[in-house]
């Protein structure tokens, strides 16, 4: 950090800084404690983890080795569960993007009759609390014969992610000038060409934000995954983590290690796309 030129801070500046620190330090501790605790367990041998130390005497990567070699009863399907989480998250991202982009284009650019009404209905879905929709959704998936099938979770998550996706994409596509479409029509472009060559490139930042949103939503989902999938080789990582609790002598250090591995990709993706996410997802909020 660069030091300012030799100028002593005034008393007032010192107290302001002190007051800010008085807020900042508790905020830092509050934010980091559960995450640090998880990390601490991941690098501690079992005895250290259970002894309440703030730093292990012998930090080790042994827990990670056990997880990556699937050397525990609870971890025997680690790779396949990780793969399930990944496939489902990517599928939800792709499907949501497809459905929401098409719908937003249709509502905002083509102004199809009834489009606005459908968007309001979609918004209504967005406001049904997720756990409330879960009960009838579970029943419906059973009727469709999709229980224990990855498609049930994919479709459920697409249902939950789409309304917000459509709403955000519609907001940002309303901002594109109509003259663009008119000019393209004058040049003889068909509707599909406008969609592909004019609309999609201009919407790229919002599409990245929405794709990331849907992928993270699906990767992080616990409740629906826990209800809709149950076979050990079909479930996603969060459900497997929840299953650790079934035993009385749960290997907590391994649970925390697996949890840490599971939490890394979303955190990394979030920071990689932070610029898009914050701009794209909070834009609508401020307007209201």
């Amino acid at each position: 950090m660069k030091l300012p030129a030799m100028k002593l801070p005034t008393w007032r500046e010192v107290t302001t800084e002190a007051r800010l620190l008085l807020i900042g330090i508790p905020v830092f501790i509050w934010t980091m404690v559960p995450i640090y605790h998880m990390f601490l367990f991941a690098i501690s041998p079992k005895e250290d983890a259970f002894s309440g130390k703030l730093w292990p005497d012998h930090p080790t990567l042994h827990n990670f080795e056990i997880v990556f070699r699937e050397q525990h009863y609870f971890l025997r399907d680690f790779y396949i569960q990780f793969w399930n989480s990944l496939v489902i998250a990517v599928a939800v991202g792709a499907l949501t993007l497809f459905i929401a982009t098409a719908a937003a284009f249709s509502i905002s650019r083509l102004r199809v009759p009834g489009g606005r009404m459908l968007m309001n209905l979609a918004l209504f879905t967005y406001f049904i609390p997720a756990a409330f929709l879960a009960v009838p959704m579970y029943r419906t998936m059973a009727t469709y014969g999709l229980l224990n099938n990855h498609w049930s979770l994919i479709l459920a998550m697409v249902t939950i992610a789409s309304p917000y996706a459509i709403w955000v994409l519609k907001q940002s596509s309303d901002k594109l000038p109509v003259e663009l479409d008119e000019a393209a029509v004058m040049d003889g472009a068909t509707t599909l060409q406008i969609f592909r060559l004019v609309y999609l490139p201009l919407m790229m930042p919002s599409l990245v934000a929405i794709g990331t949103y849907a992928v993270l939503l699906a990767w992080n989902e616990y409740l629906y995954a826990f209800l809709l999938l149950s076979n050990d080789r079909d479930i996603t990582l969060p459900v497997a983590l929840g299953n650790f609790l079934a035993a009385d002598d749960s290997p907590w250090e391994l649970l925390m290690t697996t949890g840490f591995i599971y939490a890394l990709p979303p955190a990394a993706i979030y920071y990689a796309f932070r610029r898009y996410m914050v701009g794209g997802l909070t834009a609508g909020a401020v307007k209201s």
Partner: protein, 291 residues
Amino acid sequence: MAITFSASDSATAGAPLSARLTPPQVWGIVLLAPYLLVFLAFVLYPVGYGLWLARQPASYVALFQDPIFARAAVNTLIFLVIGINIKMLIALFLSGFFVQERRWIRWLSVLFILPWAVPSIPTILSVRFMLNPEWGVINQLIFKFTGDDGPNWLNDPAVALAMAIGVHIWKSLPFWTLILITGRLAIPHDLFEAAAVDGATWWQKFRYITWPSMQTLYVTCTLLSMIWTLGDFNSVYLLTGGGPADLTHVLSTLGIRYLRLDQLNLAMASIVCAMPLVLPLVYFMMKRLSR
């Protein structure tokens, strides 16, 4: 008049569908169809079916006779009225902190987002173990410094519910703070400069500049957070599992509990009972957002 109308109506209705629609409109319908299908199959049908299941008065009688339901309803109200308001007040306060221009505050704001960016399962389980009466780090530290055994945190329903609210706040505070920060940054800066020239105090600036321009956003955020919190299953389920003795359930975990016990009617009835709370909030939000 009426005859001409019906004549022209039947004339258009008689024409093939494609003749009445321009090609862009046909594409519009085609592009809207995927979402329409998803909506019909996974929202309208389940909700309709659920309401149909919840039609019998007998399920409501059974529900109201279940002491767990009354307790869950009270817990839900505590969660919403106390928990959310505390959360939003902290978020409002912290948004003022994070707009201060300091390099270290910018770094802190990057870390501050972490609870929201990471999945809730591992972190909630991490808190759960911290609160473990024998092995958890909190009680071990209490023992080290005072020589006394710490409380059995999750075994007291009031404390356990408070902890669940705490976990919920930990998880969603960053999101709401972020929204309120964008709200604060939208306030024109010269207002504050003018106020500073006039010698306004910190409180006066907040009372006469910040609050009037943030009021609507703050209320919208509070309502939206209340709606979503009704569906917050993880904070309670993963921390306390509804225990001890099913005393910390909220409506969302209760519905899932009935579902797991194969009492689908009760599950749907408990959700329908929450509707008087949900629908006004939803109506209000729809009016605001669909503009």
